[in-house]
């Protein structure tokens, strides 16, 4: 990171500010992304007679989130073992 005319302290504060904004957005953004992906996998229709999620769809959504987390953790572990 090259920002020669900011002093050290300002740079750190700026970074902290951007990191905090980022973290706040990150959790929301992850949940929105998972919802979108698992929606595509699990929710087949949205008709006017059917505006509740049924038990099959619910189980699929829960499994989908858990498989997503499993996969992420598996990838992280395998990347660490490589290095």
């Amino acid at each position: 990171m090259s920002s020669p005319d900011f002093d050290q302290k300002t740079q750190e504060e700026l970074k902290k500010f951007l990191d905090a904004e980022n973290a706040k957005a990150q959790m929301q953004s992850t949940i929105h992304e998972f919802t979108g992906r698992c929606w595509d996998k699990c929710i087949k229709s949205a008709t006017s007679n059917n505006n509740k999620i049924d038990s099959t769809e619910k189980a699929c959504l829960e499994n989908c989130v858990n498989r997503f987390v499993d996969t992420s953790m598996f990838i992280v572990k395998r990347l660490q073992n490589r290095n």
Partner: protein, 71 residues
């Protein structure tokens, strides 16, 4: 429960996501007006999307907490 999480959620983001996910489902054919059927479909889809968001959110937060307890 949805409501409090909603308050936390960036409302604009939620609206965008509902729109994106329900548009494809409800507007396979695009007509010249926003018909009653369109409104019913969007209503139903929106309710389901928010319920899905709630399920995903609880499952994800629960799983993250469970994993953190392992350390």
């Amino acid at each position: 429960q949805v409501k409090s999480e909603m308050a936390l959620a960036n409302a604009q983001e939620l609206i965008n996501k509902i729109n994106n996910n329900c548009f494809n489902l409800c507007f396979q054919n695009i007509g010249p007006s926003f018909s009653n059927n369109d409104q019913k479909c969007v209503t139903s889809c929106m309710d389901k999307y928010m319920e899905a968001w709630d399920i995903v959110s609880r499952t994800y937060v629960g799983r993250v907490q469970k994993e953190q307890q392992k350390f």
